[in-house]
Amino acid sequence: MQETFLLPLIIALPLLGFVLLGLFGKRIGEPAAGWLASLLVLGSFLLGLVLLLQGGARWALPDWLPGIPFSLNLDNLSGVMLMVVTGVGFLIHVWAIGYMHGDPGYSRFFSYFNLFIAAMLVLILGDSLPVVFIGWEGVGLASYLLIGFWYHERINVDSARKAFIVNRIGDLGFLLAMGLLWSMFGTLSISELAEKVEAGGYSFTTLTLAGFFLLVGAMGKSAQVPLMVWLPDAMAGPTPVSALIHAATMVTAGVYLLVRHAFMLHDDAYLSGLIVFIGLLTAFYGALCSLGQWDIKRIVAYTTLSQLGFMFVAVGVGAYWVAIFHIVTHAFFKALMFMTSGSVIHALGGEQDVRKMGGMRKYLPATHLHGLIAAFASGGLVPLAGFWSKDAILAYSFEYGPWLWFLMLLASVLAALYSIRWYVLVFWGEYRGKEHPHESPAVMLWPNHILMGGAIGVGFMGLPYVIDYKNFIEPFLTKAIGEFPHEKLPVLTEWVLILTSAVVAIAALWWGFRFFQQRMPAWYKRFQAAALQGFYVDALYNALLVNPAKGLAELLFGGDKGLLAGFAGLGSLMGGLGSLLARLETGALRFYLAGLVLALVILVGWGVLR
């Protein structure tokens, strides 16, 4: 650990890109803007790698706010995330140079993209919760800007707005968590919080509440049930955005946040149980919805939801390093899946409906290979990346409870099915559209090649202990997350689990491969209709929350006018009293005299009778 100003520099590089491209983007011009943005991200990657190899770094500005430092911390956990964000981010940047070719907002796109990377780095590197929150909302802003990138179309901006508002619900949780932690411990620095939590001397239920608030924040950002509705709509943004933000990096921020606060979660059975429950729900919801979509990007978006559910389950069962491991592998194969989809969309001139695709393996051989690997990795085929991380989750689930293992196995069957459905609908069968597909340029192929390598290879750094007794990633991460003792499964059980999941995955992939090439049976069509609508959750929310809220706003607005009228009424009340009194002024002398006499009677009477 060293104190170095190079650490904020990692953030400053993409931020510089944001400023430069934002101000002078039009002058920098088309390919240059993209390359500038990409190289700055690469610079961050390299700088981060150097610092990580030197054993991490810290940087702090004390008393940024009273009692709250502006502190950054590069340890192994944030280092891994940093590598993923900048590494995969760099590849997606390069790919986007090709994908965004010819768009009138080319430089604006890369400016936003760099802003996102900068904000994401703040989120990852922040050690003080308010700093994390800067990044947290910063990525939300970038996400908002990028979903609504083509802002001329209402659907895009509506989706962007929805994403931002739903995320704000999570942000409220984050804010309240900060308030609670501050009132409990008087500090918001994560490393100090960890020490104070270990030291004890606080109410355990209050800590659970703080953890719950953090969980709400994480649920918003990672699109967990019930705050998942924004993620499918977020596909309105350009495909690189979906790949980078809504698959590889930002949506995993919630998982990262929870892992960062593992010290608060690990011996809290209620909270962990809740996380497992939410994760399971999300895994199934995402998987089932994905099976009903026709939009190629929405298919992938829902698979992302499902995989995020897997990560939450991993956090819930206490497998923190596995959650991060899954983030890494998922970043590779899901980015690859998105970019393959993007290449197909690109090849078909913007077509996103899978019913007008098919047969792409003949037209786009390289992309077909990418798609195949992505689908297999996502579906959990041995020995691709996705298999190992998912297997680790399954193993930990078995420790948590065999019933959970069974449910997760079911979820991974669904994962295999949706992966292969996507692959089959896009690449097999006959071409059902009218465009002339063309293979992507090299600038888009090469990033995919590298990601494909990752999707195949990164799994090997986290092999189960029965194969590789001391794998790379577990000790590396636990150094930062903290060592939480757990019973290792017996060797035999472990092997049985590995083999079962491998076999089940292969069987599911094979069955799905056959099934999705046939005509769909009627029961599937009925299921598909419901799944296409996301099981009507959106409609439900609109009816239950959004419309009543709007109505209440109207009502309150009218009420506020009434309030003013009330105050004005107070004034006219006095005026009315005045005019009432003015009516006494008749001008008739005898009337006044009568008043005089009456007053005399009353006053004298009061005087003598008193």
């Binding site: 005898r590 009568a594 006499v597 009456l598 009677v601 004298v604 003598v608 009778l609």
Partner: protein, 199 residues
Amino acid sequence: MSIGFWEVLALLVLVGTGLAVVRLQNAVHAALALIANFLVVAGVYVALEARFVAMIQIIVYAGAIVVLFLFVIMLLSAASANVGQDLLPRLSWVAALGALGLACVLTYAVTRFQPPVDAPALGGGLPQALGPLLYDPEKWLYALLVVGFLLLVATVAAVVLIEPERIVAATSHPAHPRQDQKPSPSAGQQKDEKAVVKR
């Protein structure tokens, strides 16, 4: 002080003439009733050892003031009490109630008065007794002067009120004759006023 025949008679006459003052429809009769009332009051004053005040009451009140009233009534030919329209007809009820209430309250108030047992004699209320008080600078001298002045002012005011035009014309400065006005505009106005009176 005992309540004998004369006291009761005086009381009845007082109330009766008082009611006559407020109820008679002919203003001349009402004024005459007022004179009667005042004369009875003067008699009461004598009984109450206020002889000088009784004299003044007769001379000034009954003699001068009410005669002035009579004069004005006759000048304006306003003997009838029923002039114009009664715009506040319901006021008579209020008036009756108010008067009744006032009577009750005041009677109650005066009957609760406890006079000192050994009140000194007043010396008949003769001028010899009142004079020293009236002209004593320690007592009422200045008040007397002020009242005298008030009377002067009132006299002048009465004159001004009744003949405004002539007075204004008389006091306009001889060094600055009004040249912008037609000859004797006030006279013309006066003529109008007279015409009004005639009509």
